[in-house]
């Protein structure tokens, strides 16, 4: 009896498998290929974004905003009459997951280009798949220089729409020196994060170039809770500013503890601070802190977009990711139009030639040597009365 049952089960399984195989190789798929080889009926654009996990607060908003913008592009006629279709997958801000997502987009969904990811490490991991497949990849807030340039050689199919870490570190250092009048600075960074290490390094270089003195540099590992030992050491040098280029959770805890130790100087951070979490977690300790950001809700250039987003989703977009992703889409649409093709190499060539393209956050000109946008203004924000205040658009000297 048992044997019979087993045999029956094996048969069933076999049956399922055969059905499955048959389904996969239906010849119908082939027939859908359009007559025109250059541009397919629908232009599929991949969107790799963290919809769950720590970074989901930006990811969800980014996904919403990009969907809204894609619809707008389609309403205005798409790309030469062809509609664009977003293929959105969750990366969980995890490199392994993002690589799988990129594979799926390229192999199954046959996307012509990918927007994302927001994290430098994740984007670098994705290039392992997108570069061999010659699929253009446009990072949104991936600010690490190595995203587009590896060992001095530009990655041919990888671009970004944000400025790079050196620039953010430079902005922070020049702002501290010129606007805050800082003569001495200390740095507390996360050695487990590329983002944080790079920002720290470029801040130090730029600050010293401005004639300032770095009185201390301390590091910790991601997820650390207690920074008092390192802060106590930094406080000894009595720095005018402490630069903390880390994620909002670590930065908020570190600032709280620095105030507990009696530090009275100013805090300065990078764009990772731009989450309301930092105020909830840091309370009064984060008051007055300045940070460099890629975009601000008060940026006069993006007011129309914000109003539209509010109307659609009933809340403010969580910047900067949504506007950066939209900039990426604008760049991509323009490049596909110009190239008149969805071939990866043709799109990349078109992006390299983009000059003074009016995107959402400003004009974009690409540097073909580095695949970075040239001279993007940075935004300086301050935490005041539990809110992010727009201070100024800062352009480095």
């Amino acid at each position: 009896m048992k044997r019979l049952l087993a045999a029956a089960m094996v048969l069933c399984l076999l049956g399922f498998q055969l059905c499955g195989c048959g389904g996969g190789t239906k010849p119908g798929d082939q027939a859908k290929v359009p007559d025109e080889p250059g541009v397919p009926e629908v232009i599929k654009i991949g969107h790799a974004v963290a919809l769950t996990g720590d970074a989901s607060i930006w990811g969800q908003s980014e996904s919403n905003a990009l969907k809204m913008w894609a619809r707008k592009v389609n309403e205005q006629g798409g790309i030469d009459g062809k509609k664009i279709e977003l293929v959105t997958y969750d990366t969980r801000a995890d490199s392994v997951e993002a690589v799988n997502v990129a594979k799926r987009m390229i192999e199954q969904d046959k996307v012509v280009a990918i927007i994302g990811a927001a994290q430098s490490g994740v984007t670098i991991a994705m290039t392992a798949v997108t570069e061999p497949a010659k699929v253009p990849l446009i990072g949104t807030t991936a600010t690490n220089p190595e995203v587009t340039v590896k060992d001095g050689v530009v990655r041919p199919h990888t671009f970004r729409v944000c400025f790079i870490d050196p620039f953010q570190g430079t902005v922070a250092a020049q702002f501290a020196s010129t606007e805050l009048g800082a003569k001495t600075a200390a740095v507390l960074y996360d050695v487990g994060s590329d983002y944080s290490s790079w920002l720290a390094q470029y801040f130090i270089e730029a600050f010293e170039k401005m004639g300032g003195t770095i009185v201390g540099k301390e590091a910790f590992r991601t997820g650390e809770l207690d920074y008092r030992a390192m802060l106590g050491k930094l406080k000894e040098g009595n720095p005018d500013v402490i630069f903390i280029p880390t994620a909002q959770k670590e930065a908020a805890l570190a600032m709280k503890q620095a105030r507990d130790l009696g530090y009275e100087g100013k805090f300065l951070g990078g764009d990772n601070w731009g989450s309301p979490d930092i105020i909830e977690l840091g309370g009064s300790a984060v008051e007055g802190g300045y940070f460099v950001n890629l975009a601000s809700l008060e940026d006069p250039d993006i007011q129309d977009f914000i109003a539209e987003y509010r109307g659609e989703y009933g809340s403010d977009p969580v910047l900067p990711n949504p506007v950066m992703a939209i900039d990426a889409l604008i760049v991509l649409v323009e490049a596909i139009k110009k190239a008149g093709s969805t071939d990866g190499d043709a799109i990349c060539k078109a992006i390299e030639e983009i000059k003074d393209l009016q995107a959402l956050t400003g004009k974009i000109t690409y540097d073909p040597q580095t695949h970075n946008p040239l001279n993007k203004p940075a935004i300086i924000q301050q935490i005041k009365d539990g809110e992010f205040i727009y201070v100024e658009k800062y352009v480095t000297s």
Binding site: A229, K233, A252, K256, G282
Partner: protein
């Protein structure tokens, strides 16, 4: 600088000590490492947060609430997860596996119900600082240190000056003999878990106020466990000494050597102590240590 480092080390060590005492208390009686202690601390932190913000209660009420939550959780935990094993005379290894199961269960329960969101306590004690010589310490640290000392001293007093305390100490020597002398084992074990739960609730609310409340915060107690082992599992003075030694060691390494390799030193210290003194600094002789 030396003074500041010492004060910081003491403040960190005090938190380790408070958590380590909870580990050691359970170990002293049941001879197993209750890894669910970290999860009870985590839920204590959440309890304190919700009493403080949602119920709008004052800090002493929240403190009591989080200790009460710790007691209820600790006792329930013992009833459901450990008593059935104890009745069957299971070996300590199985208690420990059960404890790990409870820890993972509670952590995932929080993920499923409250999510991965970080909850930050409102600033009940303010941001004021106290200056001692050239060094400063946060009022919260000072308060936590004082309260922890009171709690640990109170526990010590309880164990040495009450009948129940005597029964607990008797059980920690030999449970069978203690039961022959009329000690009701179930009640004493329940009491031990209630005490450990109250300490967990206390650690939880202070950890939550100092840092924040989140599902995986129970893993901070890894360090407390290391402290308990350095001090000698099962010994309460050992747990306190282990906690303070570890806190000071970490802080001094961070300041004078490098903050990045701090954990290398902590765990090397553990290995060295165990090599030289297998029972920890103040440990008593036990045949099986898991």
């Amino acid at each position: 600088m030396l003074l500041q480092t010492t004060i910081t080390g003491l403040a960190i060590g005090g938190i380790y000590a408070l958590m380590a005492v909870g580990y050691s208390l359970v170990f002293s009686v049941l001879n197993f490492s209750n890894f669910a202690h970290g999860s009870v601390i985590m839920l204590g932190a959440y309890a304190g947060y919700f009493v403080l913000t949602k119920a709008g209660a004052s800090f002493p009420v929240a403190l009591a609430g989080s200790m009460l939550a710790g007691v209820i959780l600790g006792v329930t935990n013992e009833r459901l997860a450990y008593r059935p094993l104890r009745v069957r005379n299971a070996r300590p290894l199985y208690f420990m596996i059960s404890a790990m199961g409870v820890a993972i269960f509670l952590e995932n329960l929080v993920y499923a119900t409250l999510g991965a969101h970080f909850y930050s306590y409102p600033e009940v004690l303010g941001r004021s600082i106290v200056r001692l010589g050239g060094a400063s310490i946060g009022i919260l640290d000072l308060f936590a240190l004082a309260f922890s000392s009171v709690a640990i001293t109170g526990l010590h007093f309880f164990l040495h000056n009450t009948k129940s305390g005597l029964a607990i100490r008797a059980c920690s020597f030999d449970m069978t003999v203690a039961s022959l002398f009329g000690v009701r084992i179930d009640r004493i074990v329940g009491l031990v878990f209630a005490l450990a739960g109250a300490l967990a609730g206390l650690s939880g609310i202070f950890l939550g106020m100092k840092y924040m409340a989140y599902p995986t915060m129970g893993w901070i107690t890894n360090k407390a466990y290391v402290a308990a082992v350095i001090g000698g599992l099962g010994s309460l003075p050992g747990a306190v000494i282990g906690g303070i030694v570890l806190g000071l060691l970490e802080t001094f390494v961070s300041v004078y050597i490098s903050s990045i390799i701090r954990d290398v030193f902590s765990f090397s210290a553990l290995v060295l102590v165990l090599l030289a003194m297998p029972n920890g600094l103040m440990g008593r002789y036990v045949e099986e240590k898991i």
